[in-house]
């Protein structure tokens, strides 16, 4: 069976901004504007963070530029009370779902507070060990099912993650127990330096769902309408007790894996530059909006100013945040610190005081 034929890339809006899917008309003008605003916000935040890292004002940073449609579109498809499980590259998703920009910035300056979502938002701290979060998403969603709610989990992971055991265990558990979870894969073509064709012999990631009898779909991850509507369908299936879905959103990261690596060592960055002019998710939506008569330069400028202010306020809040305290490290290992923790903190404090006097 030809997997590329079995799992064609579903598109709603073409690169030229034309409607190519009958259901694309389900999208209202307001929603289109919301898509654009949230993607613009994500992109501006990402650019700001890369600049801040270059100025030495934040630590190593993980950029997602190019993947805004995949993250924003999927994050808009879940609701309050649902659960989100990001990796370290998914802050476009978490900020769209309601994470605070201040805390996101705190994360990149190595603060514990960076992992805490705002009250009432169910967002896990970013998973660092690859694919490990699929099991948490499955476990949390399993708990929702046991509690007989209609809440779901939305979990992000990359193409490389599908080589890990936890990917397979997560899909299998979710399938066996028919758990309300949406497995959202962002296939950006590279796991740091290793391209997909070296990562796997499979032609698609969607086909990996076949083994677990999980409905799977391959979509254009740079088409926010496709991402939003297909994630919405998967979320509804989960809410209705129909179990998990695997979505492969085919996308591209323009930049480096992190600010600590140089992508030109392992790929021709000319391809990234070329994709900026042809496949860019914001550009595509702009074209669509122009075609639909929704584009308004003044509105875009207003949005840009609003977002700039929001980011600057968050940056200020991050910079003015109270100094970190080692107490927070000790106090949150157990509900009640053990004697070894008490002794170590006491000794640490007394020596620190002695040195400072």
């Amino acid at each position: 069976m030809n997997m590329l034929e079995k799992f064609p890339i579903t598109q709603y809006i073409s690169e030229e901004g034309k409607t190519v899917h009958s259901e694309a008309t389900d999208i209202t003008a307001d929603l289109v504007k919301l898509f654009y605003e949230k993607m613009l916000r994500a992109r501006m935040m990402d650019k700001k963070c890369v600049n801040l890292q270059r100025q030495g004002r934040i630590g190593t940073y993980v950029p997602y530029e190019g993947q805004e449609a995949a993250q924003v579109g999927s994050a808009l498809a879940v609701e309050k009370g649902d659960w989100m499980f990001p990796t370290y590259r998914d802050h476009a998703a978490t900020m769209t779902f309601g994470h605070s920009l201040r805390n996101l910035l705190l994360y990149w300056v190595g603060r514990i507070e960076g992992g805490i979502p705002p009250e009432g938002k169910n967002i896990f701290p970013p998973a660092v060990p690859i694919a490990s979060q699929l099991l948490h998403a499955t476990g949390v969603a399993w708990a929702e099912k046991k509690k007989k709610t209609d809440r779901v989990s939305l979990v992000y992971f990359g193409d490389g993650a599908t080589s890990e055991g936890d990917f397979h265990e997560g899909l299998n558990f979710a399938s066996v127990f028919k758990v309300p979870v949406v497995f959202f894969n962002q296939n950006n073509g590279y796991a740091i330096s290793v391209p997909m064709e070296k990562q796997m012999n499979s032609k698609t990631i969607a086909q990996k769902g076949l083994a677990y009898e999980i409905p799977s779909i391959r979509i254009d991850g740079n088409d926010i309408v496709a991402v939003y509507l297909e994630t919405k369908k998967a979320v509804e299936r989960a809410r209705n007790g129909e179990g998990p879905t695997l979505i492969e959103a085919v996308t591209w990261r323009y930049g480096a894996h992190t600010t600590a690596d140089d992508p030109s060592k392992y790929r021709d960055q000319a391809e990234s530059d070329q994709r900026r002019t042809t496949g860019d998710p914001l550009l595509r939506l702009e074209k669509y909006m122009k075609n639909e008569g929704l584009w308004d330069e003044e509105w875009v400028t207003t949005m840009e100013n609003k977002i700039t202010n929001e980011i600057n306020t968050a940056l200020e809040e991050m910079q003015n945040y109270p100094d970190p305290s080692i107490d927070d490290v000790f106090e949150n290992v157990f509900e009640k610190p053990t004697w070894t923790l008490d002794e170590q903190l006491k000794q640490h404090r007394s020596i620190k005081r002695g040195q400072m006097s």
Partner: protein, 332 residues
Amino acid sequence: MTTAIQVRKLTMVQAVTDALKTMLQEDESVIVLGEDVGKNGGVFRATEGLFDQFGEERVIDTPLAESGIVGTSIGLAINGFRPIAEMQFLGFIYPAFNQLMTHATRMRQRTMGRYTVPMVIRAPYGAGVKAPEIHSDSVEALFTQIPGLKVVIPSNAYDAKGLLIASIEDPDPVLFLEPMRSYRSFRTEVPEEKYTVELGKASYQKKGNDVTVLTWGAMVPDTMKAVEDFEKQQSASCEVIDLRTLYPLDKETIQESVEKTGRVVIVHEAPATGGMNAEIISVINDAAFFYLKAPVQKVTGFDTPVPVYSLEKEYLPSREKIIHAINQALSY
């Protein structure tokens, strides 16, 4: 007619079942999951009868995937449940190490208490039952090094029930290791009602004046037999302490005993290097160094993989080795 407290003599594995049943009855959020724990009642029958009594929603046969069991348990625990996950043998836990090390034990800190993981991982462990390869590992020290994890090991049925209930009620992850050699080898009195044995507290198995013997798990009955034989021949008396919790150690009890005897023997079946013997010596060094009259003696397994069972008796601390170490401590 008075209602006396109902006490039965149970094996350790029966006491484990009793604890699970007690908590499944008491707390709706408690669930048991693992490989073969449902219909089959567990390979050691530790969950026998629970599937029939509490149903498949609460006593769950999972796919054969240790990382999956621990990883989904983390999600269940964060979202309102108290999962008790069974690893069929401690030697099978290694695929789950990542979930334990990078998530279960860090989530409280990474979210400053927003998400917590009140889960128990149970695992039979240790050599001496002629089990196939890999089934006999005693690697407790791999886990005492993990910040955020408590490591608990009962040596008898009474403690097994009380410690397991305390572990289930603990707000943080607990690794509960069950010495499989002691599962059915003897019985102790176990009350029918719910009770707990506090985590982090050792227990005196026997009081004595001249040498302190520190041990846990299946080595407790072995040590008691060796001490009994030793005391028949010698005038010196031994104090035997079952540590019961390996993290956090009961520093006060260790200190109290070492201050009295000044001589110490540590007995464990795990490999020597980096084993708990080293950590206990460190605690003694901090707490009672000037009371020592002799170097601390240790009887441990070898720095070899646990051998296949034709040689496991040679691997395990023997009566002779324990008595030899006691003599060494006394004659220094």
